[in-house]
Symmetry: C2
Subunit: 202 residues, 2 copies
Amino acid sequence: MMVKQESTEEKITAAAKKVFITKGMMGARMQDIADEAGINKAMLHYYFRNKEKLFEKIFTEAFTSFWPQINNILDADMPLFSKIESFCHSYIEVLLNNPYVPIFVLNELNRQPAMFIQKVWKSGPPKVGSLIQQIEIDVKKGKIKAINPVQLLLNMVSMCVFPFVAKPMFQAALGMNELQYRQLMEIRKVEITRFIIDSISK
Amino acid sequence: MMVKQESTEEKITAAAKKVFITKGMMGARMQDIADEAGINKAMLHYYFRNKEKLFEKIFTEAFTSFWPQINNILDADMPLFSKIESFCHSYIEVLLNNPYVPIFVLNELNRQPAMFIQKVWKSGPPKVGSLIQQIEIDVKKGKIKAINPVQLLLNMVSMCVFPFVAKPMFQAALGMNELQYRQLMEIRKVEITRFIIDSISK
DNA sequence: ATTTTTGTTAACCAAATAGTTAAACTGAAC
DNA sequence: GTTCAGTTTAACTATTTGGTTAACAAAAAT
């Protein structure tokens, strides 16, 4: 049986990702990461100079791995309703596969707002203009109800992301297990889309 | 001119609140809190035995100070649409006065889900049943469109809270300053209410 | 006035934790 | 098989940080 060979560097990044995402920059211990990777702590400093460098790599990697997936939809050439559907479905699907990333990103972001904008969005800032314009046009044409495009955008993102950020709270409040919550999110893809379109349709 | 006298204990709790909320439990340093309060570090241990005790006090205080404000609305005896309006207005108003509390709570909650449910919700668990029932009844009566009550609840909470949790991100993406963002939230009280009611109205 | 209790401080301690080093191991090139 | 660069390890160091202590000051009780 073939065993996938994993380089030490890969072991480290995988372990660091897990530990940083679950415990945050301040909560993570270098020893935890070493243990998780099953290697000596000194290796962390051999491959990455220090904790900060390692963290930065993981953070940007985690963020840039799923950010484009959402960002591109905003820029796609589609009718508004299709775009809304596509956005909700893709966003929730991505989050189902990376449920702990948003709280991680938001948390670190609140501590270092400047770093974020500078380093993480230098390459791919949010392509939000296209959607905003599209909404404005459809409002003017009378295709949808009058609504502030920014508010609509906030609504869309909020409804997709927040249930993942506040998962433990909702789970406790609603008395749901992992599977039930996951199913709720699965259904949510279509429920949210309908909810939004119902609201803005004339 | 009268100067308000602040006891050492009050100085500590005020400083601890500020530091814990901005840096989190793990990120906060006892020395930071002492400096912020303008006192000797030993005083922290004199009034509160250790960091954990101090943190717990701040956490529960921060949480229980605004949780009931929202929770009670869920239980109020009102028609559904009024309740939705009341909920959105109150929730956002409370958050405008405590903008950093949600990310703080959610963050610590993700690290200690058990502690939360046990200690913080022992006294006042979410009164969510009343609203759920109310939605179900109005759906059956045909007063509103068919919708999963839980999903509607998630939508309401998400749209209210998330813009505060992700404030730095939205602010950067939309190029807004503090005042502009605040105004956006102010408007949001009524915009969100309308958005929801438009969606579920027949 | 004197004692006792409470509040406050600087200096110190112990544990945790990031980071370093020197030696040992490995595997390929010669 | 010797050498040599890259890799890995155990032991160590330096620093940070939560927590303690003993002396001191202020206030309250006697």
